[in-house]
């Protein structure tokens, strides 16, 4: 390859999967898809479109993943009918990776956990938070149901190669600050369309030491800045995470030293406070000290953004031995069955239940105002989820603030938004 032409990780992956030597931003490429994902909201539309092809098989029954996670366990009859569409399709077409309630989890926590995500892959999902898998060095992006239908038929998808923006986070992440705070800070700085159609490369010394759960949280919210994907380049933390999970060889892909970036943003995280996104937009971001005292009716800890074991550990470390404020509901939703079990084994569930929190089976439920924690008119919630749009968690006149799990747990104890140190001191 020509040494004068540097490429980013995403350009290299797209080039390789399109069978080309290079890929340049703006170019349209048709690429092989290594994994295609759908859920109980988006897959029924995809299946309806897929049936129009009149095929008796999918392109590869091992490369399709179906997870009923949004309105499950079935919230009503209509949701039950949609989940049934997935179940029947999975059986009829021999879909290997169909995860039934009881074995499932929130898709973007489940797929990496199950070893289905490897560096260098191209993954599309009919769910906007599919960008989560970039944390493992894959090119992963959200698409719609018709794209999923096409990929299930021919195993390909078309993309415009995105320009890449590099985000460097330098310094040592302070206590009670997490990947969530870095990504909220970023979205607050560049805005909800600051990375529209762009790839977001996350790097710097703070990322080098950020555990995988925090990286997954960051890549997960790339879409909240309009990003096509967000990613970290594989390193020892990645390899350690993959060890024992993946059952086949993979090739890690790295950006060249002379790769071109559309722009580079740098952040000093040494004195960073936990961040809060105010309603109704994930880019209305302020330090927690500016949100102090906002009274809450509900706190939700969970979702594809922050329902992993590190998130539950952080929340439990704050709430242990304390009680949820009277008049407030705290909902804890471990993102997968495995995380649920792990949290029980580590005693975290006892901490939550003793604190009088409600603990739920894995579901996307309240994050998108589906079920399991809907807000009434005028109610305020603090959630570790990813969106706080108008009506996102219930009534159009309810409000959602976003934070990391430690701040959420502390605020559930205080009854209003606080820094964790305030309930621990």
């Amino acid at each position: 390859m020509n040494n004068n032409f540097g490429m980013t990780m995403v350009e290299k992956i797209l080039a390789a999967k399109a069978g080309k030597d290079k890929a340049v931003p703006g170019e349209l490429v048709n690429v092989e898809v290594d994994l295609a994902l759908g859920n109980d909201i988006t897959a029924p539309v995809a299946i309806k479109e897929f049936k129009r092809f009149g095929l008796d098989r999918v392109f590869d029954s091992e490369k399709i993943v179906l997870v009923p996670d949004h309105f499950t366990p079935n919230k009503d009859i209509a949701a039950a009918e949609q989940a049934l569409v997935l179940r029947r399709f999975a059986k009829e077409y021999g879909i290997k990776h169909y995860f039934e309630v009881g074995r499932m989890g929130i898709e973007h926590a489940l797929l990496p956990e199950q070893g289905l995500v490897r560096p260098g892959m191209v993954i599309i999902g009919a769910d906007s938070h599919t960008c989560t898998y970039g944390a493992l060095g894959a090119f992963a992006t959200g698409v719609g149901s018709t794209d999923l239908a096409a990929a299930m038929a021919i195993g390909e998808a078309w993309f415009k190669v995105p320009p890449t923006i590099r985000f460097e986070y330098n310094g040592q992440i302070p206590e009670w600050v997490s990947g969530k705070d870095l990504i909220l800070l970023t979205i607050g700085k560049i805005g909800v369309e600051g990375a529209r159609y762009r790839a977001m490369e996350f790097a710097g010394s703070a990322i080098d030491s950020l555990p995988m759960d925090g990286r997954l949280t960051m890549a997960n919210m790339a879409i909240e800045a309009g990003g096509k994907c967000g990613y970290m380049q594989p390193d020892q933390i990645t390899f350690d995470y993959l060890e024992g999970r993946v059952d086949r060889a993979y090739t890690s892909v790295y950006s060249d030293a002379n790769a071109s970036y559309e722009s580079i943003h740098t952040f000093d995280v040494n004195n960073l406070e936990p961040q809060i996104a105010f309603p109704p937009s994930p880019d209305k971001v302020f330090p927690v000290s500016d949100a102090k005292g906002i009274e809450l009716d509900q706190v939700v800890i969970g979702s594809c953004t922050n329902g992993r074991i590190d998130d539950l550990r952080a929340a439990a470390s704050v709430i242990r031995g304390k009680k949820v404020k009277e008049g407030l509901r705290l909902l804890i939703i471990p993102a997968t069955q495995h995380i649920y079990r792990q949290a029980i084994d580590e005693g975290l569930m006892a901490d939550f239940i003793d604190a009088e929190a409600a603990v739920s089976t894995p579901t996307c439920g309240p994050c998108l105002g589906g079920h399991m924690g809907i807000l009434a008119k005028g109610e305020k919630a603090l959630a570790t989820t990813n969106r706080n749009f108008v009506g996102r968690m219930g009534h159009p006149e309810s409000e959602v603030y976003l934070s990391n799990p430690a701040v959420a747990a502390a605020s559930a104890v205080a009854g209003s938004i606080v820094h964790p140190e305030e309930v621990l001191s």
Binding site: L28, I41, T42, P44, V45, K48, E49, R52, F53, L55, H70, F71, K75, D76, A78, A79, E81, Q82, G125, A126, D127, S128, T130, G142, V143, G144, S145, T146, D147, A149, A150, A153, I154, W158, V192, E193, R196, Y197, I223, G226, K228, S281, L368, G369, G370, R387, F389, V390, G391, R392, P396
Partner: protein
Amino acid sequence: MILQGKIWLFGDNIDTDAIIAARYLSTTEPGELAAHLMEDIKPDFPGLVQEGDIIVAGNNFGCGSSREHAPLAIKGAGVSCVIARSFARIFYRNSINIGLPILECKEDFSGLKSGEDQLKINLELGKIIHLQSGREYNAAPFPHFMQELISRGGLVEHVKARLASQ
């Protein structure tokens, strides 16, 4: 293709939760979805919007979730075209994939009267005419690949052609 209809103005960052709230996602029928189009930000909209109407919005239209129910609800309501200063990427590809005409246009429509004024659109040329004043606006033409997708009737027809040629 020539489209003509009454306009409805919307602002920046209209997200897919605003276009169709998640509580209505337990159906995939465009007609049922259309009954709740924009309900949380403009509750009377489902009763006002008529066949052929045109949505004119600001930046980043369709941001948020990947739900194809959003363009399906718009199409189901009979909206003939969405014009925006910019589109969120998943909404953009979903619209093309299901054959909902959309146009990216950087010009300022803010002076026009929502629910009254009419636009006439030539999709191929990206030409938009304000019928009340005769003023012309120019939209970005689609890349060749996407024009082909649209002219074939969306992604499903494109894939069918691919499958037939194998």
